[in-house]
């Protein structure tokens, strides 16, 4: 055996030893002996290298080798530049949603909340990786991360990574854990609305309290019936407010932590002492929402007079613009004032039996904010209405558009809160926010916008998510056959026929 052959054998043996030891390392075999094998392999290769040093030097000095090396170097350099370009474009990318309904764009409400994010937030969402929801969730979270640099996310399959799911106490699919350095929140369904509200809860330190007055037959936030306000309570709590009952008769004053006080459809008289407590609360810088039902005498009129708000003793009749399937006492309201509380709000809201509320006097900043249609009127003759003979009487009734909601802003009487204002909104109906009507058209969002404005959190007033258009298409048997024949037979057939004609003429031309 000559020296050349020996070097070759040693080279191959060294390579085999190194590969074998790497495979054994991966398999976890002979771990304590591996270093000996690796050392032997390395020694073999070094001997082979020095044995062939002349050949290697000649090869490296060849022009073709240099040219190849240069090409490989250029390719890697170019690849590096492209990776850099991609990294920059990943960081500064723009996203355009071309769908007509802006289906893959976050609602203004979510965007408003994301603008408020001032500390890093991490979302861990749990989805089954093979399921269709994984991609949907990824798309949604991508949008959040796109609009907010401070937000990062990861998707975890709880079946594959049960440890993390258990640690974060999110063991079901569709759940998400939202955490910042200060707070954490869990949601059981990763929808845009729930995620935005959870982010809001993580951002806010303390929870503002919304008190619902009881004791005069008002709507109850615990009532889950059609007339109850449990849906409104859930929506309020989802926005990180705390909703509580307040039995005013047993109190000496409205609690100091009250961000908003709601009087939702009282049916009994509000006594003077209670009215005085509400006045005091307003002077202190409080905010009040009053929802008055038609045909009730509760003493609210005298309570509202100092704020420049008048309550009409009537009921709105709208024969043109009422909701389909109901009578003409359920007007649809789509005309709103140009005021921050109604900013960008164009969705119609539905009011089942509503009375007029108007601005009186000029002592405060009073604005009528919602109006019924032009063909509606405020009917004052309840007897005729009950007989089903209601008609517009120009002497007694007011012609539409009739205001049904008024807001008033008064300067706060508290010397410590100089420049601050107290806010009050009065609606001529309390049904629109009840469980039966809360999710009708824009009612929910109107109610939540009002509450955000009263809680002096205008930056949370926005339009909520849009619904998806339901557009079924049912093909007849003939139509389905037509689609099949056109797409699968005629179109490819026409291409083949064109080919045959072209080739035929070409052959003819060649011959």
């Amino acid at each position: 055996m000559n020296r050349k052959t020996l070097y070759h054998i040693l080279g191959y043996a060294g390579l085999a030893l190194l590969l074998g030891s790497s495979a054994a390392y991966c398999a976890g075999l002979f771990l304590n002996m591996l270093w000996v094998v690796q050392l032997a392999g390395a020694v073999c290769i070094i001997i082979c290298f020095f044995g062939n040093i002349g050949k290697i030097r000649d090869y490296l000095l060849k022009r073709s080798t240099r040219y190849r090396a240069n090409t490989i170097f250029l390719i890697f350099l170019f690849l590096g530049v492209l990776v850099l370009v991609q990294a920059i474009s990943d960081r500064h990318h723009r996203r355009y949603d071309l769908t007509s309904t802006k289906r893959y764009t976050l609602s203004k409400h979510s965007l408003t909340v994301l603008k408020k994010v001032d500390l890093p937030i991490h979302v861990t969402a749990f989805f089954q990786q093979s399921g269709p929801e994984w991609k949907k969730a990824k798309g949604l979270l991508d949008q959040y991360a796109y609009h907010c640099r401070m937000l990062s996310f990861e998707l975890i399959d709880p079946d594959r990574f049960p440890g993390k799911a258990k640690r974060l106490k999110c063991t079901s699919y569709d759940a998400a854990f939202i955490e910042s350095s200060e707070r954490a929140e869990r949601i059981t369904a990763t929808t845009e609305e729930k995620l935005t509200n959870a982010i809001l809860r993580v951002l806010r330190g303390s929870r503002k309290t919304v008190y619902f007055i009881t004791g005069h037959g008002e709507r109850s936030i615990k009532d889950i019936s059609k007339a109850g306000y449990s849906a409104a309570r859930d929506a309020i709590e989802a926005q990180n407010y705390c909703a509580k009952d307040l039995f005013l008769m047993r109190c000496t004053e409205v609690p100091v932590d009250a961000a908003v006080v709601v009087v939702a459809g009282p049916t009994a008289m509000i006594v003077e002492k209670e009215a005085e407590m509400l006045h005091t609360y307003m002077r202190r810088g409080g905010n009040v929402l009053i929802l008055v039902e038609p045909e009730t005498k509760t003493g609210v009129s005298s309570l509202l007079k100092p704020y420049g708000i008048g309550v009409g003793n009537d009921i709105i009749v709208d024969k043109l613009s009422s909701i389909f399937g109901t009578d003409y006492l359920t007007p649809i309201v789509s005309e709103y004032a140009d005021h921050p509380v109604m900013q960008d709000f164009v969705t119609a809201s539905i009011f089942p039996s509503v009375r007029s509320i108007s601005a009186i006097g000029k002592q405060n900043q009073v604005t009528e904010v919602a109006f019924t249609g032009a063909k509606s009127w405020a009917e004052t003759d309840f007897e005729k209405l009950r007989q089903g003979m209601a008609s517009f009487d120009p002497q007694e009734d007011s012609q539409g558009p009739v205001p049904i909601a008024v807001l008033s802003e008064v300067e706060c009487g508290d010397k410590d809160k100089k420049g601050a204002t107290s806010r009050m909104i009065v609606f001529g109906d309390s049904d629109f926010a009840s469980n039966g009507s809360f999710n009708l058209s824009g009612n929910r969002y109107l109610f939540m916008n009002i509450l955000s404005w009263l809680a002096q959190e205008e930056d949370l007033i926005a339009i909520r998510p849009q619904s998806i258009v339901f557009a079924p298409v049912v093909l007849s048997s003939l139509e389905a056959k037509g689609v099949f024949w056109f797409c699968v037979v005629l179109l490819p057939g026409a291409v083949l026929l064109t080919g045959v004609i072209v080739l035929h003429y070409r052959r003819k031309a060649v011959n």
Partner: protein, 255 residues
């Protein structure tokens, strides 16, 4: 530019005077036509069932018919592109015409761009022939025009990326079959990378998934245009065309 145009014209002439072009286009149309018909038929059945339910929602013809059709067209293009690009350089090398072409005052980049433009034109003809499907949808419903525009933009970018890869493999060898199998395997790999996150979990898996050609097409098929996805396709095309140019330059030097 003139050289590119000359190459482009020559390539198209050669292609459309052979039976290959018509067979490839017909096969492509049969496959995509069947996928479109099936999706539309299924949508019709679901529509009928959903209309009878009280709380039917989220039934969207663009999402349920057009999106899967476009995604499947993308896969059919992946299967057919190697057949179109395999000849580009491999055949010229085998017959010796590449040496002749390279002896002309023609730069490698012009030759490559001419061939790329020709293959892309063929692919655009293939893709635009499927515009009949949205037109059919418009007869029965109102599909989202934005999604159609974004979907077809994505499909064109995807096709361009496939072509770049195919040309690169064709520039490596003088064996057409090898070029086709190589580019098909590589394209398939770039499709399968999309499953890495599922197999390997977050971290490396997520990073490799980002390299998948179809992962970036997903946004387009939903009606979203993201500059990140456009840049990815741009980088992909430029990289593989660059490698092909270097390969041709090496060939010229070795001549």
């Amino acid at each position: 530019m003139r050289n590119i145009y000359t190459i482009w014209k020559r390539e198209l002439y050669v292609y459309f005077t052979s039976s290959m072009a018509y067979v490839v286009l017909a096969v492509f149309l049969v496959l995509s036509g069947y996928v479109f018909y099936s999706s539309f038929a299924v949508f019709s059945i679901i529509s009928m069932q959903a209309s009878q339910m009280e709380y039917a929602a989220d039934l969207n013809i663009t999402e349920m018919v057009l999106k899967p059709t476009l995604e499947n067209i993308g896969i059919f293009i992946l299967l057919l592109v190697p057949v179109i690009t395999m000849k580009s350089f491999a055949e010229e090398k085998k017959t010796g015409t590449l040496e002749l072409i390279l002896s002309y005052p023609l730069r490698e980049v012009e030759l490559l761009l001419g061939k790329f433009a020709a293959a892309f034109t063929i692919l655009l003809i293939m893709i635009s022939s499927t515009c009949a499907y949205p037109a059919i949808l418009y007869k029965y419903a109102t599909p989202d025009a934005g999604t159609i525009i974004a979907g077809y933009t994505g499909l064109s970018l995807l096709a361009a990326a496939f072509i770049a890869m195919g040309l690169m493999f064709s520039s490596f060898t003088d064996n057409q079959l090898l070029a086709a199998v190589g580019s098909f395997g590589a394209l398939l790999m770039f499709w399968l990378l999309g499953w890495c996150e599922m197999v390997m979990g977050p971290g490396w898996g997520k990073m490799l998934t980002q390299l998948s050609l179809f992962e970036h097409f997903d946004n387009f098929s939903r009606g979203i245009i993201d500059t990140r996805d456009i840049m990815y396709y741009f980088d992909f095309i430029v990289l593989f065309l660059f490698i092909a140019i270097r390969s041709l330059a090496l060939k010229r030097w070795q001549r």
